[in-house]
Symmetry: C2
Subunit: 157 residues, 2 copies
Amino acid sequence: MGVEIERKFLPAGDGWRTQGEPILLRQGYLCADPARTVRVRIEGGEGRLTIKGKNTGATRGEWEYPIPLPEAQELLDRLCERPLVEKYRRRIPYAGFTWEVDEFLGENAGLVVAEIELPSEDAVFDKPDWIGEEVTGDKRYYNSSLIRFPYSQWTNP
Amino acid sequence: MGVEIERKFLPAGDGWRTQGEPILLRQGYLCADPARTVRVRIEGGEGRLTIKGKNTGATRGEWEYPIPLPEAQELLDRLCERPLVEKYRRRIPYAGFTWEVDEFLGENAGLVVAEIELPSEDAVFDKPDWIGEEVTGDKRYYNSSLIRFPYSQWTNP
């Protein structure tokens, strides 16, 4: 098991837009239950199956397996819950860490979330000036929630 | 994607008991939804992750990935839905096919199911005399159903 320690923020302004190179991520869920999500993702021609456990604070158990691209495609097309999640991810290095800025498409268009993966829950990090409100732990922003309650349906985002 | 074509029977009598060598299978579900089951199984010291689609007659899509044993153990212990399914499987060759006879333990003790995997839906096969009623398609006998409605709770098995 790997452990994922991640904090999540909304952007403040558009400063992120001109940084990093946007890469298209296409992903879906075989299981969107927060207690045990099973995700299929295609990124840059590679398929991956990722299992994550329940969040405890900013920490989750994570198990990840590469799978052949045609099989990832089949699982996304035939089996995963609808809708799929599509987003452009930009990886932006800043002060020794890498920020992942996800710009969602489709039913989640308009939503942008910035994440930082940390070595420990209490790790200290600097934030670029285009980072705004923290939303770590806010279930609405879980990617697995965004298939049930996409951003376009939020009345009070 | 592989395709699994499988027919399922109840045994008639105990003739199967003295054949094949019982091997313990321990398995659990990350997703027990019949539209997309995600199963973790340990058999003979090997871990495997198996994804199956919806049944159409006796046919299901199947995607299978070997995973390291300690990770299979973690997924079973920490993440899979309760209860786990444990059973002894006997593989019994008969008339050119292999029958898998599963003798369930724990909350499903008393249940025995015999399965035969076929190359096509209309394949012709001979049945040993210890094979009884066919239960292909009867959802109660799905392993993924047995964690929700274990055999010990059936009022009219």
